[in-house]
């Protein structure tokens, strides 16, 4: 389990972070996300749930260094974030694989870009390929290495996309509704694949999702975000025992947590409706 002793620095540390998308919005005090305080231990799996348009994607951009906060401090892995964080890998709802590359070459793409792999890519290509093949095998894509993305089903493409996010062994994996476009059965299958990858490698995960069951099944901690302004309203530790099996999603403990979280979101939506009227 992650080290929770007070002396250990947090892996992700947001200190009162505010972001306005441009100077004009900043001047009008309109923020996409507000007053975010977030402390994540090393190796922790967190999920962020909330209605669409609540700033979840904005939060992702902050966590990867693609955007700088307007106010506040972000430290990741002990370092202040000043630019894109190469220790992270990302996957989105759309697998966005390159159709002219085979599955294997798609997974290898990050190694052609990120240092130190980049400069060694030619020399160590066969070693990297072996690593990619092993990773593809671990998500059940054995035998599809030389296939093109359009020859794979949606679920397979998404698995390849997750492999691409993990090939450079990032310390942090950011997933933005990665299973949103898949059918329920494929989705549950991929939950288990993600659970197993995480159990084995213990990278940090930030999972953004609409799906409360998904967040409760996978995460150590679930945060509920409110809409405009985007704030973290509720923090909920999920103390279900690990390893978790799909069966757990049918237990009363699980359902209670999901129900409780649903209640928070329902309350928020009602508030929103009143304001809108």
């Amino acid at each position: 389990m992650p080290d929770a002793s007070p002396a250990a620095p947090y892996f992700v540390d947001f200190e009162d972070v505010w972001l306005a998308y441009n100077d004009e919005l900043l001047a009008r005090n309109q923020f996409a996300v507000e007053a975010i305080d977030l402390k994540v231990r090393s190796g922790e799996f967190i999920a962020i749930v909330g209605p669409s348009g609540c700033g979840k994607s904005t939060f992702m951009k902050l966590a990867t260094g693609l955007r700088r906060p307007s106010k506040g401090k972000i430290r990741i892995d002990g370092q202040p974030v000043t630019g894109p964080l190469k220790i992270s890998g990302m996957a989105f709802q759309a697998p966005s694989l390159l159709p002219w590359r085979t599955t294997l070459d798609n997974v290898l793409l990050p190694l052609e870009i990120v240092e130190p792999y980049r400069s060694q890519f030619k020399a160590r290509k066969s070693e990297f390929e072996a690593r990619a093949i092993k990773l593809l095998q671990s998500v059940g894509l054995h035998g599809y290495e030389r296939k093109y993305p359009w020859e794979l089903s949606g679920g397979m493409q998404q698995r390849a996309s997750i492999c691409r996010a993990l090939i450079h062994e990032p310390k942090m994996l950011l997933l933005d509704e990665p299973f949103g476009a898949l059918d329920a059965f494929t989705r549950e299958e991929l939950w288990c694949i993600l659970r197993d990858l995480w159990t084995e490698q213990r990278f940090n995960v930030i999972l953004v999702t609409h799906d409360l069951r998904e967040s409760v099944f996978l995460a150590d901690t679930v945060y509920v975000m409110t809409k405009s302004p985007g704030r973290f309203e509720v923090r909920r530790e999920i103390d279900l025992p690990r390893p978790r099996d799909l069966e757990i999603t049918y237990t009363p403990e699980f359902t209670d947590i999901v129900h409780d979280l649903r209640g928070h979101i329902g309350a928020m939506r009602k508030q929103g409706a009143v304001i809108n009227q």
């Binding site: 894109p84 190469k86 890998g89 990302m90 966005s96 390159l98 002219w100 052609e112 240092e115 691409r164």
Partner: protein, 255 residues
Amino acid sequence: MNKKQLERWSPLILMTAIVFIWQAICSIFNVSEFIFPSPARIWEQTLEYKGVIAQHAWRTFWVTMAGFGIAIVVGVLLGFLIGSSRLAYAAVYPLMTAFNALPKAAFVPILVVWFGIGIGPAILTAFLISFFPIMVNIATGLATLEPELEDVLRVLGAKRWDVLVKVGLPRSMPYFYGSLKVAITLAFVGTTVSEMTAANEGIGYLLISAGSSLQMGLAFSGLLVVGIMAMAMYELFSYIEKHTTAWAHRGSQNH
């Protein structure tokens, strides 16, 4: 003959039908060969002048290819520039649109003053008329990257250049080959138009001299030859397109 075969042979069938009707009209109404030559007459004159036609056709062909070659280089470079930089796009695109609206034949007299009668104006006219679609297509391919994919790469520390080379350029290849098919036919138009007033050789020149000596059959042969050359090059690029960017045409093969 099943439906698929019919579809494949339909262009040939249509062309044969047109030739027959054309021949029939000329024979039945006894149209003068000096006004509107029959297909038989055109064929007869094509054979009679085949040496001359071949010589002029060769000239038109290589001049067109030279102009087209320049068009590819310039079109790709400009397309790359305006597709990869918003500022360049904003600055260049309106000017290019205005330029594209100008009739390229109007440049021929100016080019003659600069380069004299001969290959200069013909190559440049072919170039001027054909680089625009290439440029626009490369730029479009580069400018329509998925933002998520760009984030995936940028977070890894990819520079703009990496994104362009790894993703932008391969992505714009189908657009590029598509534009080549259009551009090559335009290039033939440019060369022929230019040769009509500013050359002593080439199909354009042949058309004018055949017309002025009332060799209508020969004039039609000239048109026929340009048409065949343009069609052949179109098919060539179409073939290359299908075999280099198969991933973009997958819809027809499966699913």
